[in-house]
Structures are given as structure tokens and as C-alpha cells.
């Protein structure tokens, strides 16, 4: 594993991050936006675990941070889905473009 180095993990993580950002920016379905957020969080998690493996000072902390991110992502998905369901109850759609009542 040491001969592989940390750069391939960075590049894969950057790819997942970019996929998530494009997903967030371009999807019109609110649940698609939520999936983009999950991709971004997973990209950050790959970086954390790779640092835990390749940086001796970060061996425990990288995993601890990754576990925290996983748990908080589960909580975030629950709240976001509750908001999306509420929006669907009120508007009968999940199109994020129609959520414009707060527009000035």
C-alpha cells in the first residue's frame, strides 16, 4: 500500500467531490440534490481515511472524523428528507425551481 502513495486517493476523492457539486448544481429533483451532498461527504471521508493511513500523527483521528461524518450525514439525510416531504405535501412537486416563495 505504501508504494501506491496518497495521490490516487486525492484524485479519486476530487472526482467524487466534483461529481457531487455538479449533481447539486444541475439536478432539479430535490432528492437528487441530496444525493449530491452524500457524494461530497463521501469524498471528504475518503480523504480523512487516506490521511489516517498515510500520516502517522493522524492514525486515530482520521477514522474518528470519518465516523463522525458518517453519523452526521445520516442525521442530515433524515432532516433533509423530512423537509422534502413537507415541501411535497405543500406543493405536490419536488422540483427545486418551484421553491421560490422567499424570493424578494
Amino acid at each position: 500500500m505504501n508504494e501506491l502513495g496518497i495521490q490516487p486517493f486525492f484524485i479519486l476523492s476530487a472526482f467524487l467531490f466534483v461529481c457531487g457539486v455538479v449533481c447539486i448544481a444541475s439536478k432539479r429533483n430535490a432528492i437528487g440534490v441530496l444525493m449530491g451532498v452524500e457524494l461530497v461527504l463521501n469524498a471528504a471521508n475518503i480523504n480523512l481515511v487516506a490521511f489516517a493511513r498515510f500520516n502517522p500523527a493522524f492514525r486515530l483521528d482520521g477514522q474518528v472524523f470519518a465516523l463522525m461524518v458518517i453519523v452526521l450525514a445520516a442525521a442530515e439525510a433524515a432532516v433533509a428528507l423530512a423537509i422534502i416531504l413537507n415541501f411535497y405535501n405543500n406543493h405536490a412537486t419536488v422540483d427545486v425551481d418551484s421553491a421560490d416563495e422567499l424570493k424578494g
Binding site: M1, L4, I6, P8, F10, I11, A14, F15, L16, F17, V18, C19, V21, V22, C23, S26, K27, R28, N29, A30, I31, G32, L34, M35, E38, L39, N42, N45, I46, V49, A52, R53, F54, P56, A57, R59, L60, D61, G62, Q63, V64, A66, L67, M68, I70, V71, L72, A73, A74, A75, A77, A78, L81, I83, L85, N86, Y88, N89, V94, D95
Partner: protein
């Protein structure tokens, strides 16, 4: 070509292709399936890195919990079979350009990160040390020097434990549970 490199190449290709599938799929159910493969690929990466506990938690919480929650959300908000919300081509163009620029920036930045030489120890701390550090025991904290400093400055790392973040996360989960149940409750109108 050694075994870890070959395994990483296979897993990384699967993960990247499925992540691309999440972006390019138009049907939200297909997006969920692509996301399933991405999450499984990420957990395989954790196993490959030696972080077995993080990989297991990723499989249990993400694939078994969060993804099921998302699929439930898809089912509860479906408006007829195979109906899609289309993205306009101009938005694809702008999103693709921004994504390509961001990817280039991140790859360039990742080549400028200098790390201390990795330890020859191939195993990461398992569930035991992780549980102890969540309970506030500082002895499991690794002894190493702070990285990212100039070569002539050597600062030993202070031992840390994570009892307070653990408690905050648990209370946060309770708050989220109550809040989500309140937000998503069925609203029935009272008949006058």
C-alpha cells in the same frame, strides 16, 4: 504491479464510474442505484486502506440506513412511473465547465501536499482504540510529531480524546430524530 495497486485500480474505477452515473442518470431511482454502487465502492476503499471499522460502519449506516431512507423519499414523492425532471442543456454546459475547472484545481492542489513518510505499520487502530478514544481515554492517541511544520521545528503531538464530540453527536442525533419526526408527520385537517 502489486496486489494493492491492482485492487485500488479496480475499486477506484467502479467508484468513479458509479459517481458519474449518479450525475448523468435522469431517473431518480437509477441515481439511487448508482449511489448504492458508489457507497459500496467507498467502503471497499476503506477496507483496502486498513480501516475495517470505518468500512463496516459505512456499509451499515450509509448503505443500510441512509440509502434506504433516500429510496423511501423517492417512493413517497414519486409522481407517476418514470417521470423525470429534465435539466436544461445550458445548465449542463455551465455545470460541466465549473466541474472541470474545480477538478483541475483540486488535482493541482493535491500534488502540492507534502506528507511525512508513512509508517511501515500497515494496520490502522481497530474498534478497541477507537472506542477508548470516544470514551475519553487519551492513552490510545498516537505518538507522533505535528506534520506540516518546517523540517527543523519538531513539535510532539498532544494526546487527544473525543468524549465531548461523541456526546454532542449523540444529543444531536436525538434532536434530529425529534425534529424529523415533527417535520414529516402526517397533517390531518380537523373537520369543523
Amino acid at each position: 504491479m502489486t496486489l494493492p495497486i491492482v485492487l485500488f485500480a479496480i475499486v477506484a474505477t467502479i467508484t468513479a464510474i458509479s459517481a458519474l452515473g449518479v450525475v448523468l442518470a435522469r431517473n431518480v431511482v437509477r441515481m439511487a442505484v448508482w449511489l448504492l454502487f458508489t457507497l459500496v465502492g467507498v467502503s471497499l476503499l476503506y477496507f483496502l486502506l486498513g480501516a475495517e471499522f470505518a468500512g463496516t460502519v459505512q456499509l451499515i449506516v450509509y448503505v443500510g440506513g441512509t440509502l434506504i431512507l433516500i429510496v423511501f423519499g423517492v417512493m413517497l414523492t414519486a409522481q407517476g412511473p418514470l417521470r423525470e425532471l429534465r435539466t436544461r442543456p445550458a445548465e449542463w454546459l455551465v455545470g460541466g465547465i465549473v466541474g472541470a475547472l474545480l477538478f483541475g484545481l483540486l488535482v493541482t492542489a493535491s500534488y502540492q501536499i507534502a506528507l511525512p513518510p508513512p509508517s511501515t505499520d500497515n494496520t490502522l487502530p481497530g474498534p478497541g482504540p477507537l472506542g477508548l478514544t470516544f470514551l475519553g481515554v487519551t492513552e490510545t492517541s498516537p505518538t507522533a510529531n505535528v506534520s506540516g511544520l518546517p523540517d527543523d521545528v519538531v513539535v510532539p503531538r498532544k494526546p487527544v480524546a473525543y468524549l465531548l464530540p461523541f456526546e454532542i453527536v449523540s444529543v444531536h442525533l436525538l434532536v434530529v430524530l425529534i425534529g424529523a419526526a415533527y417535520l414529516a408527520r402526517a397533517k390531518r385537517r380537523v373537520k369543523a
